[in-house]
Subunit: 136 residues, 4 copies
């Protein structure tokens, strides 16, 4: 049981480097888009989380395997998986494929929850767990 | 009479694109570094301006001429000029040259001053005018 | 007579700065997306232009007015206009609006055409003029 | 036995996000700067590696722990370690500290060597091993 979501992004010219590959630091943005859209689809707006619930979600750690280069104008599919219900933190797994379905990149990104005022860690808010519960 | 300051930045790999040129959107960061270091040298810390004076300086407009490409690992010289004392806004002129002294890029960037709380425009604060006055 | 095209981009978290505004250097990427999609819609693939026609299109100059800040998660509309048939160079005008239709940003970006091998300027290739001719 | 090198970078405004933290995707650029300067100090110019030796060094994988946020205008120290002589690939360990010496970020980045023409993997070139040998 897990929550899956797929979203497309097209590689921008400014995201390439002089090898003609997407620069390795850009993937973090793709993961961000992947999890924000996955959460939106589950009814959780990250923008509201910050503005209305005063919660921030900074990244704690990230592991990335760069298997094959993504290239300019590639229409990438970011498959985002939430492998388990968030608790003290939330983990997202990613697979990024090009239009031929070739796996280019795999990653795991773990985020925690902060009270934006105190900047102290808190547990995953209940409404986030509720939104995801039915998938597990 | 005007205030001049020069600062070096080295081109990062991630700033190039697949033409092998610095991507045209990156120069805005170089201008930012140029004006922050020019202000630091005149005794104005932009970080303090935000934190202690509650003033933001958003960019209002920017004109850029891209004359020749900057390339990976180039050690660029950003020459920043404040052509007149700030008043309702502040203008910075930029010339970016490579190690051979070749002019690569010229720009003008105009910023205003905002009260960060009300997000309303204010005039240039007196301590900024004071710090720059002797150059004019 | 001119060629118009509209395209949406959603503001990424990584595109904001600590004012909570889209960083002023990011707009160059939005203009890039705007013109690439405008050209795609007119039957011109910029990726093919480079790979098959050996033509590069570097930016020569750019003028930007930042009227109001774009913010995280805003779904922006980039309206791209080609005001005249390309000749020695090509100009794109941009208007960026948020979901309320408020004008946030206006720009003009002028690009030239380079033979990628010689890196010398050439005129706009005929097939580009042909693709756009009917709009003028 | 290992090779160590330290280098400073100052956090740019455009590298922050609306939490007021350095965006998590930016650290990849700091690691790049760290390894390029570490290699330069050992007599290896990455720019020459590409241009004269026709060798590319793409990143294969990256593990990052984000311990504390870096903030605008922080003068960061990137400590880069090459823990073992490169062979089939090369690994870099990173520790990033702020001016108070507080550890903000730790990472390991592994790169391979590509013949830029064939885009096939090759072993670490001998001159790179030679440049680093005395440290091991």
């Amino acid at each position: 049981m897990s929550y899956h979501h797929s979203f497309n992004v097209r590689v921008r010219y400014g995201e390439t480097d002089q090898m003609g590959f997407v620069y390795y630091g850009i993937y973090a943005q793709y993961y961000e888009v992947g999890r924000v859209e996955a959460m939106r689809d589950a009814g959780i707006l990250y923008a509201h989380l910050e503005k209305e619930h005063n919660i921030w979600m900074p990244v704690m750690n990230m592991q990335v395997r760069f298997l094959r280069p993504a290239r300019y104008d590639d229409l990438l599919t970011i498959r985002t998986t939430v492998p388990s219900l968030p608790d003290r933190d939330i983990r997202f797994r990613y697979e990024i494929r090009n239009e031929s379905g070739l796996l280019l990149n795999g990653a795991v990104v773990q985020l925690c929850f902060l009270d934006a005022t105190t900047q102290k860690r808190i547990d995953a808010p209940d409404f986030i767990k509720e939104s995801l519960k039915s998938y597990f």
